[in-house]
């Protein structure tokens, strides 16, 4: 598929995030550090859209054959979480890990990830999630594409290879558009692609035997000056929710439905 005729090489960028399904009552911010405090006993997860990206890569692997490498960057990793893409069927895991890589902003994250991708070299297709469910930035993939000079297609719901390039269905609020780009390219994937597959027992066994490749800041020749955040975080707070719900009830469920309608009529809402 590649110009050299060798097997397609896909890189998927995967971020470890605080579980977005953490119950609201357990969602706490440490006002001193202005960081979200991970809820006790709730392990981190692979960002949901990144699982969709892994799924997209594995579908290409199933259909045309591909080697799928997963790349993640952080100061620390929960290894059993990070191995999930491997147990779904990815071939290799690369971790860019350094104490300097804690809470990087999108500009710094893209810089480090682009440095790792340069070092790994030779990918035909880079897949990312459409956004990370922590800061909902949707910026890192753009930065990687800009730094590596790659075509960028965001919010993919379907990906196919065509001669020398890729054809992407990009989800729109009322439909989709078809976008074509030559390879190598960067594509961000959205949940419209469909559910990511579950790890198989065989996959989990195979993943257990794989050792990730690790890169430190100095391996990547990272300039520390470029890791400083560009925006200033002035405050991080949980928005106030003033519950003022009026509960409607009746003699039985059917009566409750009737009472609700009457109350909405009274309030001139219907």
């Amino acid at each position: 598929m590649t110009s050299s005729g060798a097997q397609l090489k896909i890189l998927v960028c995967v971020k470890q995030v605080i579980d977005p399904e953490t119950p609201l009552s357990a969602f706490k911010i440490d006002p001193g550090t202005k960081r979200v405090a991970p809820a006790a006993g709730v392990p981190p997860v692979v960002n949901g859209f990144d699982e969709n990206a892994v799924e997209a890569a594995l579908r290409l692997k199933d259909s045309v054959g591909a080697e799928v490498t997963v790349l993640s960057m952080s100061d620390s990793f929960a290894m059993d979480v990070m191995k999930k893409p491997l147990s779904m069927g990815a071939d290799a895991l690369v971790l860019a890990q350094d104490s300097q890589f804690r809470d990087l902003d999108p500009f710094a994250s893209a810089y480090v990830l682009a440095a790792a991708i340069r070092k790994l070299d030779g990918f035909d297709l880079i897949l990312c999630g459409r956004q990370a469910s922590d800061w909902d930035n949707a910026q890192v993939p753009t930065g990687i594409a800009e730094m590596l000079g790659l075509p960028l297609v965001t919010v993919a719901q379907k990906l196919d290879l065509a001669s020398g390039g890729i054809v992407v269905e990009r989800a729109l609020p009322d439909g989709y558009e078809v976008v074509e780009a030559p390879l190598p390219a960067l594509v961000t994937v959205s949940n419209e692609l469909g559910e990511p597959r579950y790890p198989t027992l065989r996959g989990i066994m195979a993943a257990g035997k794989k050792t990730p490749t690790t890169f430190s800041a100095s391996d990547l020749e990272v300039d520390p000056a470029r890791l400083a955040p560009r925006m200033h975080l002035l405050d991080l707070a949980v928005p106030p929710r003033d519950s003022k719900c009026e509960f409607i009830s009746g003699e039985n469920e059917a009566d409750t439905g009737r009472q609700l309608a009457l109350r909405l009529r009274e309030a001139k809402l219907i």
């Binding site: 609201l24 800009e146 075509p151 439909g175 976008v179 390219a185 975080l233 405050d235 991080l236 909405l264």
Partner: protein, 324 residues
């Protein structure tokens, strides 16, 4: 130039509602507000921008902009920003804006605040409040000294000004002289799903269903209710992901933002990512069998119960009340 530059978008040949909202916001933030419009035949939209309060309109013209390729629009906007050096760039949280903002920020080495729900000047400095963690938290952020301050602004947070057709704007042509190599990814087809009846985006009443409905069939009842109230049907992502409804019905952070007068949520738990798309509704009504569901924290009226027992009599009573 200093001041505010708005990334202008059109819907059906007219200035988009989002662009009008951004002009109104720009008037609060800066001394002058300019709007950039891309392509040809923009005279009508330029008049509309003036009517909504723009002081200046940049008509960005280039042969490559004619068929609306995103990569060309981004290159042209980048080149316009270098030319006019705006203090603040406002972009809507739209499918196009979400791509334009980050691309511009990386090219100009500028600060960017995504999904802003409020922007204000504090001691002469722009401060943005943005939704993060799916709406579970609000971050207040300041911008770097260098470069334009770029903000992607959530729709329907700011109201457009009342249009005044007698207002005029200075019209400035700008030709970026693009090279065809700027287009790397090319849109070859756009497939639109026609929605029937009232558009979800502008509906005054929205009846939404979630995973609690258990399957696609109950949505027929929601549609019936929506029709009685001259509204539209919406859904949670869980209902769309399950394949019960197309994703064009999805309300929320990564779906549509709706601001109806009445939002009726049936079998929806009220996750922050869902509420991000409907918390601007004036009145939320929730039917959910779990009294602890988060939706009741934001609802005005609530019924704790199984929708299967409640919904039919609710719809029948609404039918009686709305007759005549």
């Amino acid at each position: 130039m200093s001041g505010v530059l708005v990334f202008g978008e059109l819907t059906d040949g007219h200035l988009s509602g989002t662009t009008a909202e951004l002009i109104a916001l720009g008037k609060q933030l800066g001394e002058s507000v300019a709007v950039a419009l891309f392509g040809g035949n923009m005279a009508g939209a330029a008049d509309e921008a003036a009517a909504y309060g723009a002081d200046r309109v940049h008509l960005v013209e280039d042969p490559l902009l004619v068929d609306g390729q995103k990569d060309a629009i981004i290159a042209a906007f980048d080149s316009l920003c270098r030319e006019v050096s705006p203090d603040i760039v406002l972009i809507g949280k739209t499918p196009l804006g979400l791509d334009v903002g980050p691309r511009l920020a990386f090219r100009l080495h500028a600060g960017l605040a995504q999904d802003c729900v409020s922007l204000e000047m504090r001691d002469g400095k722009l401060v943005a409040t943005r939704s993060v963690y799916g709406g579970n938290a609000l971050a207040t952020v300041g911008f770097p000294e260098q470069g334009p301050r770029i903000a992607i602004v959530r729709g329907k947070v700011y109201e457009p000004l009342a249009p005044d057709a007698s207002q005029t704007a200075e019209i400035v042509k700008f030709e970026p002289k693009l090279d065809s190599s700027v287009i790397k990814a090319k849109t070859v087809q756009v497939v639109k799903r026609e929605s029937q009846g009232v558009r979800l985006d502008d509906a005054d009443v929205v009846v939404s269903g979630g995973r609690g409905l258990g399957g696609p069939d109950p949505f027929a009842q929601l549609q019936e209710l929506a029709s009685l109230l001259k509204g539209a049907v919406g859904a949670s992502r869980a209902a769309c992901d399950a394949g019960w409804l197309d994703h064009s019905y999805q309300v929320g952070l990564t779906g549509k933002t709706v601001t109806p007068n009445l939002y009726i949520a049936v079998g929806i738990s009220g996750a922050s990512q869902h509420m991000a798309g409907c918390s601007g509704a004036k009145n939320i009504v929730a039917i959910n069998k779990d009294e602890n569901a988060n939706i009741f924290k934001e609802a005005r009226y609530g019924v704790v119960g199984d929708w299967k027992g409640v919904l039919s009599s609710f719809i029948e009573t609404v039918r009686e009340l709305t007759k005549s």
